[in-house]
Subunit: 459 residues, 2 copies
């Protein structure tokens, strides 16, 4: 609880068009995010209406030693926006303006609270393309996407959020305004601070404006679904496609368990005896799309896949429905869903899937696996019940072994969900002690009082 004089200072700062919450039932809405964790109430929630208010809030928090947690839509999957030790939650959702879409110079400038899908739509209406498409894009904000380096289905060909960040303006933890990057493709003036904001999880600055690269919209695309009897063969087809020098826009994977779960929930006609399926979309120039499709068809035949191509928008939507419904269908089965995102170089996916199967069996758990096979970013999804202590112990051990397998196969603990509180204790295992020390020094140098989102990533 903040004392009344402090609350009044916050009120004074945001009195013009800002919003403030101090009641417990209001605070409760900002005590958790999309990661299944024990909620923690913030002391106060503020929604500033202009940048001067942000500056003053940061300075007040810094002066009074109040933790400051920046929050967009709260869709992150690693506990990054849970106020671990209370403090002030700063909502960026009021900053939702697309400031500029420049068709000649192929960039957009947006405020940090702009919703990802809104930007994507606005850009598309001008024949341009903003590729990053995290699963939560209909509610997630661009600021949150940057802070978590959000990925999505198009990572393989088009990269992730970081590949589109050209510049960021942000307030430092002491309230100074920092401008990094800009509107030109080439720019090397000073440290790459806009790069540093990427995957910084709200710990190094409070972003206001973000300049993003845009590209021309691909002229054509083609979606297909490939069914395999054998799960490992499906995984091997991923590498076969890349080895043929084809880089699809999306290359998604669903295992047999997920296929069955989706079919049970939605009756869309998936064959429940398939070992796995791949969803593939190629895009680009028209002739290229046709050529790549033919090659994929050939590979599929050779490997014993059963390929169905979408010949209309309706058929395309039907194909993608299976993928869209994967997570929600799995979520119906048990009270607690733990969505992992250990990631490996894509050629290691067959081995990774073998290991996930073995771990599932060893700990007698329910795990459905789907995800972005093209970029090695699978989502083994553990279905369990937090109240079942004995099973949760097995779940913990399984997660541990999944991480161990990913690192052993030269992968990473997290492809796109971030560290936050969820993976803090595992981080050193991947990056080593020297990296943790460097991160601490960097954090301590730029935020000596550890005001911004403290205790995340173990810092």
């Amino acid at each position: 609880m903040l004392d009344k004089s402090l609350v009044n200072k916050f009120k004074e700062i945001i009195k013009e068009n800002g919003t403030i919450f101090t009641e417990e039932d209001q605070l409760a809405c900002y005590s958790y995010d999309a990661y299944a964790e024990i909620p923690v109430l913030p002391d106060i929630v503020v929604k500033p209406s202009n940048y001067e208010q942000i500056e003053k809030i940061i300075k007040l928090c810094n002066d009074a030693n109040i933790p400051l947690i920046t929050r967009g839509a709260g869709t992150n999957l690693s506990g990054g926006t849970v106020p671990k030790t209370g403090g002030c939650v700063l909502l960026t959702t009021g900053f939702n303006k697309i400031l500029e879409i420049n068709e000649n110079d192929l960039y957009a400038v947006v405020q940090s609270g702009v919703i990802t899908a809104n930007l994507a739509k606005a850009v598309e209406s001008k024949g341009l393309f903003y590729p990053p498409d995290p699963g939560s894009m209909n509610i997630s904000t661009i600021g949150g996407n940057v802070a978590e380096n959000a990925g999505g289905l198009r990572g393989l060909k088009y990269g992730v959020t970081k590949d589109y960040v050209m510049g960021i303006n942000f307030f430092c933890p002491e309230g100074n305004y920092v401008k990094s990057g800009g509107k030109t493709v080439k720019l090397v003036t000073g440290f790459n601070l806009h790069g540093l904001m990427i995957s910084s999880e709200g710990m190094l600055g409070v972003m206001t404006d973000i300049t993003l690269k845009l590209i021309p919209k691909p002229k054509a695309s083609k979606s297909m679904l490939v069914l395999f009897k054998d799960m490992i063969t499906a995984c091997e087809m991923v590498s076969a496609i890349i080895a043929a020098k084809i880089v699809p826009a999306t290359l998604e994977f669903l295992d047999n368990f997920t296929i069955n779960t989706v079919e049970e929930a939605s009756k869309i006609g998936l064959p429940t005896d398939a070992g796995a399926l791949l969803l593939i979309e190629v895009d680009g120039y028209e002739g290229q799309v046709e050529e790549e499709f033919s090659k994929i068809l050939e590979i599929s035949k050779k490997m014993g896949g059963d390929l169905k191509v979408a010949n209309s928008l309706e058929e395309r939507n039907k194909i993608w429905e299976a993928r869209r419904k994967a997570l929600s269908s799995l979520a119906r089965l048990k009270p607690t869903l733990i969505l992992e995102d250990a990631t490996v170089p894509r050629s290691k996916i067959p081995e990774m899937m073998r290991r996930i199967q073995a771990i599932t069996k060893k700990y007698n758990l329910t795990i459905g696996t789907f995800g972005h096979a093209g970029d090695g970013n699978l989502h083994p999804t553990i279905l369990t019940d937090r109240r079942n202590k004995e099973e949760m112990e097995r779940v913990e051990k399984a997660i541990d072994e999944i991480f161990e397998a990913a690192l052993d196969l030269e992968g990473t603990l997290s492809g796109e969900h971030g560290v936050g509180t969820a993976k803090a204790k595992y981080l050193e295992r991947e990056v080593g002690k020297g990296t943790i020390i460097y991160m601490k020094k960097l954090k301590n140098g730029t935020d000596p009082k550890n005001i911004l989102n403290p205790h995340k990533m173990g810092l």
Copy 2:
């Protein structure tokens, strides 16, 4: 001068296969780089042969307060590797191994001293593509490319060095080993420290291994040269091409002065009455290349350009000869050449060229302008003589106004050459005071004794 006991400590560290220079004539070779500046002798130059030696050198420098300047090929254009206050120059040229080229997972792992062109060739032999192509790529190192975020001719379509960095291992200024990023397209474990290394100019760590993204080699390409009577129309064609949703691989510009200089030096048959010329290469899928070429031809006709297309490799090489010879031809004219790289959003190029012309006239200087028009990165090249004090004063003023113009047009002081010592005094004008403070705090946090490349970027 370092005292003898310190020199002996360096000798002890690198005794196995390392090299050490302490004589003045040897040190002189490392007292300057490709930026025209007054040379400063280092106290000692060491070329370690393994990573343990790097670690020990850093720790020794840190303990004994000796500035440590990491140096690849020394091709940087902003004085970034000049040892401003002496100290130890650490050569990375011994670390020249390509450790892995992975065709399935589309990445390469290289040591920091690998020469850019060697990597490009090795990758190409496997049907893959590493696009960044800085002008110095035949001698520059990948480590240097990362430290300066080197650009090149392909920035427009393929981006710059930063767009290919997936992971970096480096020693921190206190000798700890830091690992950031890795071999997967998606990876969000911890701060984006490999991103932070980009354009850090040797001030935040000493890089050892770098993991780089590769892409499939484009199947086809087509080069063309477009001559214009009027310089501004040539600049306007750049925007017209982008507006037609065509993103060429390269889109270069030479002004009349540069055309004449090249022709005088090389007699390659360029029309000396042309106001400007554009060199364009489109690449990609075969049909796409033809379609884009037709569209460019149409735009050129509409705008009064005279387009010549290369129908053979020989013709292609001839077209590109004009561009390759621009800098060396200009360099013949006067004793001192100052190569600027102020950069603007590409749609602002016509206005930027108008301003450069006005500045040239105002200060009665010889300035040839060529460069990467497609990404707004022009190189106004001032030809002068450092010994002519009066002219140098006018040069200084002209540079000042060129920077002012670039910032006024929402551009940057430097597109691809970096800050180093050359642009340190101008930096705050672009990024503002808050950014300088943040950079200082970051540098101070990670390098409290300011050992790594001190006094660069004004820090």
